[in-house]
Symmetry: C5
Subunit: 347 residues, 5 copies
């Protein structure tokens, strides 16, 4: 902050790129105070405090859309502090021709406002287009039931892009709200029609068949609805993330249950072997059982150990089967459906 | 996009299907500019930028419902770019007779608007009817407590149809909002009554007993309420998915607990066998215990091993039983209910 | 649908039950067109498309509350298509006396409307009363910590009644909204006061001390508030289901942790026994250790096996204890509470 | 209900406690019809159907706050059916002096209304104060990571008080809404200023410096805002319950993972011992290996068994370590933060 | 409370710090009644009951922002009871110079109001800045997939700061609502422009180019929007906590599955060893198998035990692999995406 103060010790100045209504572009530096005088604005009108704002002051439209700060007058569009924001390409290659085009029968401020709002909507769309495929891709691989645990990197990506999506949603909502605020107040819309107030000749001429305020309302509403569609898509994407998370959890739980059942079945086997193995251990003791000399006993006991284990295991497995698949309730749910059908049918 | 540009290098044109109020149907191609001139509209009125729009411009109702773009004039209905959308069947078999029917005492624009809104509502209803039984079916099989793990395919289906349901909900909301916006502004409703402004004779005649604007409001409100009912059903379905997911989780957890208890009981058995089996292992060592020659000792020790294991296991099982079923709290909850009963009773 | 078409091939007709303001009840069949003529209504006024509607048309109140369709005129109440809906009992035993009672100083349409709205609210209340105790009962038994897994049937019941509750909530909301829509527009309320417009004598007489429109507003508001209370109860019930599900999950998880700790403790025991049992196995080998003849060695090794296992197990158990109960964080949370106390105190 | 009918077989009557504006208190029984006549009210004005209501009728304020039913006239406050509700203490010890106090320069109805609204807010506050510390206490002990399973009683308490909290939230909202409804309509506020209409002398005198309606609005708004603060606290408490439940689940899961890792480590140990113990078992067989006589072999094999088990276990443990702690992803998340910093910085 | 009563037994008094519009600061104690007389206010205007309030009464702006209570008159700003709140530094070092600065062309009350609102917004911002990095830090370490269980302290911190965040959200909302309430009513804005009503000369002079009410609206709106941005950030942070919790759960579950699979694989190994070890145990019995003397049998059986175990294990592992990775469903989801692409494309 100290260094900032030193650097900007001179009076504050804007780097301005000016587009006039004939398509000429010029770029220069101007002190804030001079700019204010020139446009009969007050210093605080050019504070640009909020990330998204669009107001009419003294026959100028002053707007800021994130990093883009601009002033629209009836004759020209001034873009302020445009450097280092990656806007140059758009300014020179797209904005300039768009403003110069005469296809539009409406006055200059409409062309300028439309160009900027379109740019804003495009930016939001671009951000959504960046986030959406990545999230869909991650979700696709996360809900894959084959995968058991290799989630880590994917989850990080999901979290990160989920955050971007939240921020995008906020920005969409803020932009929508700022348009809505204008649409709700007819006075502001009137004020935005600069030409109507400044250039009676142009106004009367054009107003033969067009009501400027109505056109302005249509223009703003158009971008409002485009933004709303973006917002809907973003919300659907959020919902998809939530739904997928449920599925991921069910998948993981389901895997676990499968493994746990296998584990339980093996534990049953081991238990059976241990139980009948004890017979072998008993006969392995250096104690006299008086059966030592009978050759048939060896095979008898050995057979008993293996057969006993096997039978025991089978018994336990069938017990498990019965335990997990109960004598089962009738399809209560189906009945519920039928009952509700009747209800809806009555409607 | 390059190919698009080449193909549409000629001036933009619409393929138009025209229904007049006597039931005649004709189909032709027309340039956008000609169409504008004919209807005294401006080019931007026919941009159809939003998926759902319904506006009155210069004695025409211009509307778009997803893929269906149409213009209603007091005498005719123009459906634009209808090819390749699967609409032909509906256009020829249903729309034409509906428009020609004279049952309706109201002017042509009412008939046309009603037919199109009805088509839209039917489309939404159809989509809900496709999604609902599949989801109910999947949920039915997922909440089945017998199933332990075979969810995979089902979950995919659930996720996919859940997504469709979200999209359907969005579309229902968008359609509802666009109707609501019109219902909220009496002026727009007035504008939608085309005949009232264009054909004074018809208007006066019919207005003896009917107020056009009021009829229009009833018509729109009717479809608004039908859409709301669809929206309610979609929301209930969403709620059912959520509730079922909870039940699925409880089911899976419950299964797991059952298996874990069985596993624990077997582990207790194995532990007992291992502990007392150690006695056998000890006597199996090639070391002198001086008990080797006594024949009773063999049976004594063997008996001890098996009996000890059994008793030990029984002990452990009853310990587990006590651990899992505590001396238990009084039915605090019942008390709470009673307390709340008193409260409501006082009301 | 085919059979429907055949049956209703004649002109549509209503089965009408008529209650006049003196308490007389008659029942007859009437064609839809005749009914319209008699009441000066139009055919589409009697379409009853929405499950819940309440409108005033041409000095009649036309309403539908789910299966109950009725028309109120200043002199009589017509209930349409009342058969097979289980309404007969209510119509004959309750509605008739209620309409005949002269306690009410207000005109007939008030009595009729009140009776029908009261019936609707009672129906909703009855449905809530059916659903509530079952849900509370199921929840009561599900949150019981003793139960480990026998949830299946209960869960089905919960799911089914949860669905009923959602549908009830929707119906309550729809009814509330339809009342609210009327309460928001004074004109509609005026229209609902039929006598005011049709019977000047009665009106003037009664209007000495009562403003009809105000009375109608009070009447509607009364049922609005009763419905709202029902809605509040339904929402509280939904919240209770959600809260209980959390508790069920915590309970199941908690059980599992208890069992897992027991399992772990036994696994530790088994490990210890296996480790020291290996000594016994070693000495059981048919290999010469040169210790075979020393009688003390047997008892020494056997003692070592058992004692070693015991000590090892104890060691492991205390390790587990330390692992699960860490040196523990100070009661950070209490501090947080205190800090927030200060903050609120400052308020 | 039968007994009720018998008891109240006489005409309905109210037990009334009357406070006049000079602080005198009297208590008597009065028939409903007489009371209506005395106050020029109609029978249905005194039905008190809703748990929370506040209306002005014919120069009386009629209100019900849960169990408290009262009528305010310009000269007196009548509390109806006050017995058996635990209100006596408040009525005699607090309400009487409050009404008699002359500190307030405003007319009697203001004092009475303020006293009753204050009582209502205090009741709500008291209920919150009862619920809050219990819930905080339970949560505090539930999120304690030391506790593994002793939740049962606590969970019941949480569920029960959570239900109370929901009911309290509903009551707060209902009270807030009933105040808001009045605040939204200036006419009702005017009607509530009883003195303004009945006692011109007092009114003119006092109105020199005070606008009654404005004072009434301030009074109501004051209690509205107090209720809103209560509602905010209740909502924060609800949020805290939700957050704590997440933490409880993470805690339980975390415990489980710790135990599962220990279990796995021991299982690895047991596996190693079993594997190498098999060598011992092999040499324990009564079969000739021709190694029986070599004394070194015993120690060799025994050493191999123990050493081999140890090495095997170590190998498995390090494998587990590697499996659970992957070569790990770069701090993707940090990058995300940085990127968002840039974005916010640009703002 | 008793001690409070004793201490404040004298008449209530305020400690006042007075800033006049020339930058002079004085501090003194004043009785509440005197202050009221001086400013022609009524006692109840200075009750400061709500934590956030901003009202105009009798040409004074009376406001409270949490602990800061202030009165703005056209000539001076009075800060009441400022001691012990940590406000002194701000009052002396920042507020005084800010009020004295003449940069602002607007009257004193604007400067004062702006300073106080800015202070409030700064306070909220500071609280967010304290909470945000801690929460991000905790989340960062919790979602780290390496960590298996060391969450305890972190979770406490998360819970604690989550609570702070909820409280901050409430405060932001309350502040926003109180600003919005003013912005919605033009009258209150007019009343806030004190100079306009009291100092005609200054007013006329300044009003040549500025509309006071409009300036006041801009000022309030400015802080409204700043607060909204804070609210957006707080909400995004809340969302991030929720998303991270999902990821934590997936991580924990994923770990568990990995461990469970390893455990299952080892259980399979142990089972195989136990099964084939039984052969060894059988031959270890002191029973005659008649194979004792054949030296090849020892190696044969030993080899069979080890080899058999190995093969058995391998079999089981491949069975597990097949069980967990099913023959797998086609990428249904991708198809769903494509289908939805078509749908959007049609739009």
């Amino acid at each position: 902050r100290v260094t900032d103060a030193i650097i900007s010790s001179g009076p504050p100045a804007f780097v301005v790129m000016k587009f006039d209504h004939e398509g000429n572009v010029s770029s220069y530096e101007k002190k804030k105070t001079e700019l204010c005088q020139e446009l009969s604005l007050q210093a605080r009108d050019l504070r640009f405090q909020h990330t998204t704002s669009l107001t009419a002051r003294n026959n100028c439209i002053i707007l800021r859309m994130a990093s883009l700060k601009a002033i629209i007058t009836p004759q020209s569009l001034l873009v302020l502090d445009f450097r280092g924001l990656g806007l140059e390409r758009w300014l020179v290659l797209e904005l300039a021709p768009q403003l110069a085009s005469q296809a539009h029968s409406l006055p200059f401020e409409f062309r300028a406002l439309e160009a900027i709002l379109q740019h804003k909507v495009n930016t939001l769309q671009t951000r959504l287009n960046e986030v959406e495929p990545v999230i869909l891709d991650v979700l696709e691989s996360l809900v894959d039931p084959k995968i058991l645990s290799a989630y880590r990197g994917k989850l990080h990506v999901l979290l990160q892009y989920g955050k971007s999506l939240s921020e995008l949603e906020t920005d969409i909502r803020v932009f929508k709200d700022s348009l809505l605020k204008i649409l709700d107040e007819d006075e502001i819309i009137e004020e935005l029609c600069l030409t109507k107030w400044t250039d009676p000749r142009v106004f009367e001429e054009s107003s033969l068949d067009i009501d400027h305020a109505e056109e302005m309302e249509l223009l703003l509403e158009n971008y409002y609805m485009q933004t709303e569609e973006l917002g809907n898509k973003a919300r659907e994407l959020k919902g998809l993330i939530d739904d997928s998370e449920s599925v991921i959890f069910i998948n993981l739980d389901s895997h676990r249950n499968v493994m746990m059942r296998l584990n339980l079945q093996l534990t049953m086997g081991s238990f059976s072997l241990t139980l009948f193995g004890l017979i072998g251990v008993a006969f392995g003791m250096n104690l006299t059982s008086n059966l030592e000399e009978d050759p048939r006993v060896f095979w008898l006991v050995t057979g008993m150990m293996f057969l006993g284990s096997g039978l025991m295991w089978r018994r336990l497995l069938s017990f498990l089967g019965r335990r997990l698949e109960p004598s089962l309730n009738p399809p209560i749910w189906k009945k519920a459906l039928r009952a509700s059908d009747v209800r809806t049918g009555v409607r």
